[in-house]
Structures are given as structure tokens and as C-alpha cells.
Symmetry: C2
Subunit: 340 residues, 2 copies
Amino acid sequence: MRHRLKDVAERAGVSVKTVSNVVNGYVHVRPDTRARVEEAIAELNYRPNLSARNLRKGRTGVIALAVPELDIPYFAELARHVVSAAAVHGWTVLIDQTGGGPEQERVAAAGIGDHMIDGLIFSPLALTADDLANLDGMPMVLLGERVDHGPADHVAIDNVAAAREITAHLIGLGRRRIAAIGSQRTPEGASARLRLAGYTAALAEAGIGYDEALVASASAWHRADGAAAVRHLLTSGVRPDAVFCFNDTLALGALRALHEAGLRVPDDVAVAGFDDIEDGRFSVPTLTTIAPDKERIAKLAVELLAGRLAGDRDAPPRELQAPYRLTPRESTAPGPRPPR
Amino acid sequence: MRHRLKDVAERAGVSVKTVSNVVNGYVHVRPDTRARVEEAIAELNYRPNLSARNLRKGRTGVIALAVPELDIPYFAELARHVVSAAAVHGWTVLIDQTGGGPEQERVAAAGIGDHMIDGLIFSPLALTADDLANLDGMPMVLLGERVDHGPADHVAIDNVAAAREITAHLIGLGRRRIAAIGSQRTPEGASARLRLAGYTAALAEAGIGYDEALVASASAWHRADGAAAVRHLLTSGVRPDAVFCFNDTLALGALRALHEAGLRVPDDVAVAGFDDIEDGRFSVPTLTTIAPDKERIAKLAVELLAGRLAGDRDAPPRELQAPYRLTPRESTAPGPRPPR
DNA sequence: CCGTGTTTGTACAACGTTGTAAGCAACGTT
DNA sequence: AACGTTGCTTACAACGTTGTACAAACACGG
């Protein structure tokens, strides 16, 4: 059976509140009283009922992290960092899988408001600012691409700059026919838009003409989509000498499809990704990518949330940028052969 | 501001309990009353306070899933299925990262007992049965390898049979010097022990002698450990013609290390894994593996938990087996070259 | 020895919800 | 016309905790 403060109090011969004081580390409790209470707590293996505590305090000590899919490595890695960062503040993280669709994300954003949660870290794929209105003042931090003029705090890396940098890296290798994979038609694909913008900017800087035929769209950003996009390019007669994929899973799919087509990477086609997931460090060949500082992103997000919870609910939304690093690996290694 | 039942009641001109009845779908509410209440709910954007509801009901509607690490793909994929299966029962899943160490797992198992949770699905790496004593009757389902004589329900696949089957598959390809990667010295490595047992059984059946030198241990089961194990084998002069890795991430690391050593897979060395993670379907070459039915594992676990919660807390622990399938891919393809 | 201030403990109410018991109509039956 | 029945609604208490207000015990200086 489960014991309550009252049981402990009776056993220790004190009032309920005194036990509560001991549990909460209140200072003015005589050492011998404290000892008696602690003994009773140990004997009964007492644990506070968090529902009751939460009800009383109006806080739950739980924050939610809403991501599109957990088995997309980028989000799993991010989740790990968020859990760690939240633990520093004594918070538990409830991880919510939205599925990425606009309707599901709306449900997540709204339905999660059913209390039990002090704040929300949200990595939206399809959601726009308007969908986030009815949160009733629950503190929220958005990750990833900016939801334009959103009412919430925001943490991201500079997507345009990063995409430009990695595209420039490909150009620096002497590649000229650089395909881009992951573009999205839908108005929701904010990431895609920003990364495409960086890609075109780099081309323009280098004086390379933009070729519509080199840009392949991908509805989702899974391995299968990357593979499909490459196959589509090749069967339509396009022969790129480099491929910039808008994330690493797309790139891993692309590697696969290029391999199946008998093309060598990086000799025939250089490949670059985005996100720096663990897989890309062990793939054959290893994957050149943009490595966002995920740990820092998580830390910043949690701290923004902590700030809101600590008081300034009504401060204007803040936009923070996390650092990233271009990380060249075998898939864009120069020279005729990758270094064994 | 947040609204309460009382606010809705005042606005609709009824009692608090009537509003509660409407919210909970109680039948005997006159249609016009119901309409008035629902209107008031909508106007105020009322959401029930779950802490209060939980306190009153003694249930939280939340179950926990404790896994060693979220960014191990197998656990991420499993988590997705558990979340889906739990949603069917109206439960939210709190995902807990234990880190896999014995001490951390003990903390997870015990500390999670601080209410807020109706039950626990636990995938222990290092924990033994004794560590699970102080759960105070909280229903728990264990995933993965059996914690011997544990007091809890249990869902797993037949590891020995699966390992034997995939080893036999390698033998069937004509391979004779089959390395095993992932063995563990520690008493905790239950999975490792079972899979090793299947490996030796298959060798024995085929009349192949067991060679200690072909068995490489790995403290963790990450890609880096798989790569390190292969490098270790090769530098110590061992020349296997096949490698059975105790999970897929080890195998992906092994593929990488073999590639770096200039060995071709499957021509020179066949490689097999275990778990059927998404990566293995797109790696170069694609990975032969044992595919446990993760969806079914998750479903069974949730249903066992549901059974406990519904009543029979004291029924004897049950052991359920989930199906698996041997899934041959390129990394063990027969013939001189993998199919283009 | 008294007044004053500090320490230590208590009783009570409140957080927002739902189960229980009971009240009050309106109805059809005797 | 009195009587259960049924349908709908309400008041009240309880879930386990903590904040507030206060009382009792104690320490100290004048």
C-alpha cells in the first residue's frame, strides 16, 4: 500500500505539516523531531503524491518536448540533450510525437495544454504562428525554423548561412552541377525554404547559374525520400557532380541510390548533408555535413523556458542563434579516391 | 488566465457537478443544459486540470517507458510503437532515459515510483531482479532479456533461437570462420549471453568448432564499439569470413571498419546484425538482420500493463514471446558479387 | 522576573476535480 | 389525488499536499 503524510505523522507523533516541512527541507525543525520523522518516512517507504503536490503548487515539474518523429535520428539526439538539460533544472521531460502533420501538430500544441505540463519545447514541421495562439499563456520555446512573427521564444541555427557555406564547400571542390534535394512545395516547409535560399545564394556568389532541373523535392525527409529523389534525377537524365541534401537522412538515402546506380562517391558525385547525425560518421563513405550544436540548442531552449517560468511571462519573444560547424568528411573528400 | 469548472458553472448557470458531468459525458443531462454548458466551455476555452483529476481518481493516465538511450535507433523505434500502442488506451507515455548503468537504472526504477505514473515499461540493460523490489506494487512490464525469476511481466523474442538461426544462415552460405561481436563479460549482459548461446549452438549443430579468438567483446553496443571490435580482430591476425554482430549498430560499425581495412562485404566477409533498424535497410551494403516484431512487442507490453491496471495485480508474472523474422539482405548475399 | 523576539509546532483552508447521497421536478400509474 | 418512478440537478465531502495564521515553548537582555 501507499502511505500518506498522515500515516507518517501518526507514526512519528507529530502533525502532518511538520512531516511536510521535513520532506521539503524547511529549516526550523528540531534535530530530534526531524530524526523521528525521517525514521518514520524510511520505515513506511513514504513517497509524496505528486498529483497532490502539483495541484497544490500549480506546477508539475514536467515539460514537454514535441517532435515530429522520435526515430528520426536528429530528433532522438536532440531529445537526449533536452532531457539532460532539463534534468539540471529538476524537470522531467514528456516526449510527444506529433507525426509532423499540420493537424496532429495542432492537436499536440493545443491538447498538451491540458495541464500536467509547465512548458513546451516544440519542434514544428508544419505549423505556422497562428496555430499556436490558444496556448493560454503556457510558456513555449520553438526549435528549428522560425515560425514567422511567432509569439514564442525561438532557438535555431542560421540555416541560410549554413546551407550557403556547405554549398560553397562543394563549389570549392570544383563541382559545378550541384543538385539540391529536399525542396518542398508546401508553404509549411520553412527549413526547406531557408536551406534552398542558402544554396541559391552560394551559386549566385560563385557565378553559377541556377538550374531548376537540379532541384529535387521530397515530401518527407527520410532515407527513402532521398533515395527516390536521386533515382528520379538520374532517370530524367540529369547528371550532377555533387548533391546537397537538406538533411542527413536524405543524404544517406542518396548515397544508397548513387551506389545502386554504380556511381562512386565522392569521385563521381560528392554528397553533403545537414544535421550531423551519428549514422553519418559511420556510413560508407562518411558524410560531410553541417553540425548544429545540438547540446547548445537544447540548453538554450531549456533556459529560455526556465526564464519564462521564473517570471517574465510577458517579455517580448526572444530569438537565439546556436552555433554550427561545417564538418567535411569522405563524401566530399577531394582527390581521385577517398583516403582509404 | 486558466478557467475552472466553477467559472464555467457560473457562466452557464448550473452547478459545478453538472459541468463535470458534461465534460465526462455523463448521460443524464438535458440537451439544452448540455448545450448551454458546452457553449460556456467553448467561450472560456476551458480545459480540465489534470493534476486535480488525477488526485481525485488516483490514476494519472501516464505510463513510463524507461530505455537505456533514446538515440539508439532500436529504442527510438520501439518507443514510437509503444507511444502508438499506449495511445489506443488513452495513455500518455513518459519516456525516461536511464543511461543504461546499473545505478542510473535503479534510480529510474525507484524514483519513478513518485507517482505521476500508473505503470512502467522497462527495458533494462544492467538491472537484475532484486533491483526491482521496491516498486510498491506499481505494475511493470519488462522488455528484452529476461531478468531471471523477476517478479514482473515480460515480453521478448526468443533470442537464442534467433541467434542460432542467423548464425545457421551464415553457415549455409559456406562460411566457416564466423566471428561474434558483442559478447560481454559483465554478469548483466543477459542479451549478450543469450545471443552467444544461439551462436555456439548453431556452430555445434554444424560441427564447427568454437574458436575463442573469433569472439570479440564490446562494452557498449554502439557503432564505434563494433568498428573497434573488428579492428581489434583484424590486428590480432584473425581472418573471419563472416561476422555476426549482436545488434545492428555494432554491425554498421563493423561494416565501416571492414571497409577501411579494404575488405569487401559480403565477398570477403559476410555481416549479420540483429534488431532491424532503419539504417540497415539503406547502408552500403544493406544489412542482413533479425527483425523482431517491434510493433507486436510494444502492443503486448501495453496490453499486459493494461491487464494489471484493470485488476489482477497479484496474478503470477507472465512471459510472452513476440515473433521475429530472419531478413537476409546484401551483406550476406551469396555469389561472387552483391546484386548490382 | 518580566517583556520581547525567535524558534518550533499546530490547525485550518485551499488547490480543482469527481463520487455519493439526496433533492426536486415531471411523469404515468393506481 | 396520492404514489412511486424516472430524469436531471445540486450540495457536500474527499483525494494528499502546502501556505497562512497562530499558539506554545524557549532564549535573552534589562
